[in-house]
Amino acid sequence: MKLRTMLLASAMAASAAGFAASVHAADIKEVQMLHWWTSGGEAAALNVLKQDLAKEGYTWKDVPVAGGGGEGAMTALKAMVAAGNPPTASQILGYYAVDYAEAGKLGDITELAKKEGWDKVVPTALQKFTTTNGKWDAVPVNIHSVNWVWINKAVMDKIGGTEPKNFDDFVALLDKAKAAGVIPLALGGQPWQEATMFDSVVMSTGGSDFYKKAFVDLDESALKSDTMKKAFDNLAKLRAYTDPNYAGRDWNLATAMVIKGDALVQVMGDWAKGEFKAANKEAGKDFVCYRFPGTDGSVIYNTDMFAMFKVPADRQAAQLALADATMSISFQSAFNVVKGSVPARMDVPDTAFDMCGKKGIADVKAANASGKFVGSMAQNYAQPPAIAGAYHDVVTKFFHGEIKTSDSAVTELIKAINAAK
C-alpha cells in the first residue's frame, strides 16, 4: 500500500513538474534576466528598469546565479545556452558577447535599433560588441573607463599636490606622498587589477595610436618595441609606491584605503566611484578624479551589455521591450548616475551627474570623435578572453617579480599571446 502510494505520489510530482514547465513556456509577459547586479546601488539602479518594464506589463524574473561575481554567472549562462534554454537576456561583457554571436546563439533586434537610430548615438568602437555583421544583438547599458585615478582630496591638500599631467608628474606626486608618510598608491595585487592599471600605463607611455597598434591590432613590432619596454619599466616604477601587503587585496579594499585617507591614490575604473558614493563622499570635495596622467582625451573603455538571446517567437515581444527600455534616455541617465559609469548613448544630458560623470560624458564624446575611444585589454574589450588572460599572466608575473626584466616581459607577452591565438 505504502509503496504504491509513494509511486503514485512521485508520478504526480513528475507530472506536476512537467505541467509547471509547460505553463512557464506559455508565459510571454515575462523577462528572464541573468545578471550579477545583486548588491547595493547596482540592484537599486536595476530596479528602475524593472519598474519601467512593469509599467508596460512585463514581469521581471531574475535567473538565480550561485556566487557573486561575473565568473559564476558566465558559467551558468553557458550551461543554460548549451541546454537550449537561454534567458531572455543576460548581462555580458566584451568578447563573451562576440562568442555567443558567432555561435549563432543571439537574436536579432536590428529593426528596433534602426527605428531608434542607435547606431548614431552609441560610440562607434563599442558597436563592435553590440552588432554582428551589421545585425544588432545586444544593447549597451553603460560605458566604464579604466584610465582614471581616484585621489583623496584631504591628503592631496596636505601634501600640497597638484593634478599630474604626465607620468613623471605622477611619480613626483607619489614621491611627495611617500615623503609625507602616506601610502602613495592603493593597489589590489590581483592579476586583473594590475593588468587594468597597465592598460593606462601603456596608453600614457605610448599614446592612443600605439595602444591601438599593440593591443587592438596585436602588431608584433609594437608589442616588442622599446615603447612597450618603457611601459613595463614605468609599471615597475609604480611597484615601489604600494604598501607591502598589497598582494591579493580586493579592489574595493584598496578604494577604502583612499576613502579613509590611508592612501593617496588608486588607479581604477570608474566603478570605484560607487565605493566613494556608498561612503557618502562627494566628488570635488572629498575626492577628485583625474584621467590617468598622460591619457587625458583618451578613453579606455569597457561596458556592460545585455545580450539578447535567440528566444522562441512568443518571448520576443518581451525581449524587444527590454531592449527598448534599456536604451531609453531616462534609464541610461538614472542607472549610470548610481553606477558611477556614463551612459552608453552620447545624447543623454549630463545634468544629473557629478563632476566626474560630467567629465566622463564629455570625454566619451570627444574620444569617439577623435578616434581615441579604445577597448580595455585587461577587461576583454581589445582582445578575446584567451589573449586577455595571457596578458594578465604576463603583467602579474612581471609585477610580482617572476619575470625580471622588461626585455623578457615583452618576449613573454608575445609568446603568451601567440600560444593563446
Binding site: 500500500m1 558566465m74 555561435a103 601587503n245 599572466d393 602579474t396 610580482h400 613573454e412
Partner: protein, 316 residues
C-alpha cells in the same frame, strides 16, 4: 526508506505473495541501485569520455568537433618544463606537489597523533572531539577567508604580535606570492586534520582489547605496541583517509582562491584553478579539458596501483 517498507507490505498478506515477495526481495537491491548506477555511468564516466574527446579538438568557448590530434597535449607538455619565468601549468604542478604532499602527510600525522592522544581515556573527550571535528563543518571558502584575514600582516597575526610588543616578528607568507601556497596548506590542514582524527579514533576503538592485553603480558612497551600492533591493524583506515585526502587536495579550488585572493603573480595556480580558468573564463575549453585528463591520469597512476595492492592483500 523503500527497503523498510517492503517487508511490512509482505507481512499483511503473506501466503499468496510468498514467491513474489522472495523475487521482489531479490530484485529490490538492484532496482534501488539502478538509478544511481545509471546516473554515475552517464554523468561520471560518460563525461570523462566527453572531456577526453574534447581534449583532441580545438574547442574554444563552446565544444566543437574539429580534431587537432595531440596539439593540446603538446602545448601542456612544453609548458610542463617552462620554469623561468614559470608557466602557469608549471606553477600549478609544483604547487600541487607542495600543497598535496604537505596537506596529505600532515593531516595523516596530526590526525593520528590527535586520535592516539584522545584515546588515552582522558576526561572531557566528549568535549574535545567535536572541537577538533568542527572545522570540517565550515565550507572551504569560509575557512580560506578566515585564514586570509588571520594571516594578513596588516590586520591579523603579525599586527597582533607587534601590538603585544614583539615588533621584529614577521609572518607575511599570505602576501608573498612565493610562500602563499604554504598558507593554503595551513588552512587545509586545519580544516581536515580533525576529520582524519575521527577516522583514526574509530579505527582505534575497533581494535580488539584482547590483542593489546596479550601484548602487555608479553612486555611490549606503549610505543612498541603502537608501532608494531595498533598502527598496522589500522591499515584500512589509512587507505580510506588517504583516498579522501587525496581527492580533497586535488579538487581544492575555493580554498586556494579565498586564501590567496585570486592568484596574485600567477603564483597560486593549482591544476584545478588552471582547468577552470582555461575552460570557463579564457574560453580555451580544449586546453582545459586536456589539463583535466592529465589530472585524471596522474591520480589514476598513483591511486590504481595503491588500491590494487591494498585490496589484493585483503583477499589473500
Amino acid at each position: 526508506m523503500t527497503v523498510s517498507v517492503a517487508p511490512i507490505a509482505g507481512a499483511v498478506n503473506p501466503k499468496p505473495r510468498a514467491s513474489l515477495r522472495a523475487r521482489f526481495q531479490d530484485g529490490l537491491p538492484k532496482l534501488v541501485l539502478a538509478p544511481s548506477f545509471a546516473i554515475i555511468l552517464v554523468f561520471v564516466y560518460g563525461f570523462i569520455l566527453w572531456t577526453f574527446f574534447l581534449s583532441f579538438t580545438n574547442s574554444k568557448a563552446f565544444a566543437n568537433f574539429n580534431l587537432v590530434g595531440l596539439a593540446n597535449y603538446q602545448k601542456l607538455w612544453t609548458w610542463t618544463f617552462e620554469s623561468d619565468p614559470p608557466s602557469s601549468w608549471y606553477t600549478a604542478l609544483v604547487n600541487m606537489g607542495l600543497f598535496g604532499g604537505l596537506y596529505i602527510s600532515l593531516c595523516l600525522v596530526l590526525g593520528l597523533t590527535l586520535a592516539i592522544l584522545l584515546d588515552q581515556k582522558i576526561r572531557g573527550e566528549g568535549v574535545l572531539r567535536p572541537i577538533y571535528l568542527y572545522p570540517l563543518a565550515l565550507s572551504f571558502i569560509v575557512t580560506g577567508t578566515a585564514w586570509k584575514l588571520f594571516l594578513d600582516p596588516g590586520i591579523g597575526l603579525e599586527k597582533a604580535v607587534h601590538d603585544w610588543g614583539w615588533t621584529s616578528f614577521k609572518f607575511d607568507w599570505v602576501v608573498n606570492p612565493r610562500m602563499m601556497i604554504y598558507c593554503v596548506a595551513i588552512a587545509g590542514i586545519w580544516a581536515s586534520s580533525g576529520f582524519v582524527m575521527a577516522l583514526f579514533l574509530a579505527g582505534l576503538r575497533g581494535i580488539d582489547g584482547e590483542i593489546l592485553k596479550a601484548a602487555q603480558i608479553d612486555g611490549a612497551s606503549g610505543f612498541a605496541m603502537y608501532r608494531r600492533i595498533i598502527i598496522p591493524i589500522m591499515r584500512p583506515v589509512f587507505l580510506s583517509a588517504l583516498i579522501i585526502l587525496t581527492h580533497l587536495a586535488i579538487k581544492s579550488y575555493d580554498l586556494v582562491l579565498s586564501v590567496t585572493g585570486k592568484n596574485p603573480g600567477g603564483a597560486a595556480e593549482l591544476p584545478s584553478t588552471f582547468m577552470y580558468s582555461y575552460t570557463f573564463t579564457r574560453n580555451q575549453m580544449a586546453v582545459g579539458s586536456t589539463s583535466a585528463i592529465i589530472m585524471l591520469m596522474t591520480i589514476a597512476a598513483i591511486m590504481v596501483p595503491y588500491l590494487y595492492s591494498e585490496l589484493r592483500e585483503k583477499q589473500r
